[in-house]
Symmetry: C2
Subunit: 421 residues, 2 copies
Amino acid sequence: MHKENIQHEIDLLTQNATRAKEQLAILTTEQKNAILKAMALALDARREEIKTANHKDMVLAQEKNLSSSMLERLQLNDARIDAMISGLNQVADLHDPVGRILQEIKRPNGLLIKKIAVPIGVILIIYESRPNVTADVAGLCLKSGNAVILRGGSEALYSNQAIFQALVQGGTKAGMPQHSLQFITSSNHELTYTLMQQVGKVDLVIPRGGAGLINAVMEHARVPVVKHYQGICHVYVDVAADVNKAMAIVENAKCQRPGVCNAMETLLVHHDLAATFLPKIAALLQKRGVTLKGDVETQRILSGSTIAPVENWSTEYLDLILAIKVVPDLAAAIEHINTFGSHHSDAIITEDSVAKQRFLAAVDSAAVYVNASTRFTDGAEFGMGAEIGISTDKLPVRGPMGLEELTAYKYIILGNGQIRT
Amino acid sequence: MHKENIQHEIDLLTQNATRAKEQLAILTTEQKNAILKAMALALDARREEIKTANHKDMVLAQEKNLSSSMLERLQLNDARIDAMISGLNQVADLHDPVGRILQEIKRPNGLLIKKIAVPIGVILIIYESRPNVTADVAGLCLKSGNAVILRGGSEALYSNQAIFQALVQGGTKAGMPQHSLQFITSSNHELTYTLMQQVGKVDLVIPRGGAGLINAVMEHARVPVVKHYQGICHVYVDVAADVNKAMAIVENAKCQRPGVCNAMETLLVHHDLAATFLPKIAALLQKRGVTLKGDVETQRILSGSTIAPVENWSTEYLDLILAIKVVPDLAAAIEHINTFGSHHSDAIITEDSVAKQRFLAAVDSAAVYVNASTRFTDGAEFGMGAEIGISTDKLPVRGPMGLEELTAYKYIILGNGQIRT
């Protein structure tokens, strides 16, 4: 694409989005819910077209020899289409995050100041492979009153387009403002990069995907970014741990679903407990098929097994592999977590209330746990109902990002003639 | 500075700041207040050194023929040093923003989830001329538990250093963690640009200054930015306005302090009121020394006066100059504001409740007023006590930025052995 064509396309996308966001900001909850339900119906009605489109993507993906895990993420079947449909209906049932009064201040001069939640505006979402993201993101953004520009992976282009067209067709019939959803069919990177530099016209970019995508967005974006990046999560078993809780939580955090961002990657064990605890937990984890790696002290204690050394304490294995370190005390555990972790989810297992407080205060992560599995860091588990991702950034949003996190705020000030003296 | 020297300096600054932020995050309110009061005392004790340093800056500035407004901003006298001192003491009296419980969720599985306010972490502040910013920013960041890296303008180097040294000396005696405040003496731009690219080590950059500084930060920053940019503020006088309120508010918004960001730059008047209202308000404003510019309709109505045309509706005059436009209706007023404004502060003057609601909902600005002057957009006027600036961004912070806006949040989750099934 030539530079002037890119600029033309950018102008069109942002002007459309601006008009849409103005109309979206003033829709009522009932109007938004009707649109969501109409989108769900349209997905159901166009189910066969969506499956046909997905089949095209799958054939192309097989020709390109994409990995089996990539193919697995790409594939749509009736169950996955049903999940998109029920997702949209669930979002319709959730509380409208727009218009919430976050603060109310009555000033001595009579001014009434209200801080209220408003849509963020225009959100650019860049995602890879899973076509269900198209529907999930569209639903959450619509309910939170945001105009969205979707840029999916080229490997899912036919599927994404089919879903997008169904959503637009259904939504429009129920009164969705034109261009509330826009979909970029071009795979031109320059276009996407330029779009994330439109300060004031695009309000937020959310990349969902691997390190390559995240790094490209960090490099090029000039508008605010919310990253869903790595989860290098820790469980620290303190000297005052209840060993039964520790066994169950460590097993759960590693084994229940090892391929996700809130699974544990590193186990830290207090030195005074290591000689008794490590052999027990190692036996349990090895029975569950976990490959253990460890520092020198762990290797010494578990000398009966073959424990490989840990090459890098910041590795996100996303697999049945666990790094183990023996630490001299709580302070060393906290320092390890803050240095090598990804500020996602970290837990302490202890019955010592001073240790609990210190861990909660000092660990600089989105979710800090006492005596529970890191696997709970999730929009649904936090009671948010649905999430667009889990932010590993600190600003503007941290941790699970649900409907409320898809809003910004403004101040409205009600007076009766006040002037400043 | 060579590239390797810059990297060495960056590593030193960020490592120092990381250590400081860890200690700052766990200070008690009492400890922080004691540090603030000790800083205030130290400024008083080193008053003569500060004035001597400022004299050096003033001499150099005069040699360099800096403008008189620049010199005015640069100069320190006893009154300005007193203001810094009382500012620090006032911040000590404000409520601690860290540790506030923003939300509390009890889950059916017994998990107690608390969303709590925490310091942002490491904040880089880049500012120009006014040396009092050094003390103001240091006080607000200390109270909110943030480590701060200060980069002042070269024209205020001696003054800033003298203030910085007093703050560090006073604060340290009262237990301030080492490197809570760091000051960059080098005027090397590459160093500052590299610093604002330290994702994960610097958590926020706040530029305070003119368009050149703001644009440089937007170009180079990779960490979140809060900009205090232009204020192109509007007052819209609706057909249903109370004319007395309109007269007083328009006069106040333009004349009370025209050189600040929340002063009105453009007056919008409903067509049906223009013929009666414009001559009255023009007479009042011209008596106050305001130069009027207008669209064709305004020029026609005010044909007795000399009304120059408006070249650009997005001009921030910061002076006794006012652009006037006659609009056909409320919708046109809203569209003008959203198109040409800077999303800072905008007001409607009306007694019509439907018009009020529509304006409040549709105007996409940090502060939207009904029947009050735009001049109230200010941390102190909003009851925040003090502000580090007024954000013209939507994310992560919008409008006046006080102590609470200098915090992020994290989730702490208290369990008794919960695992995910």
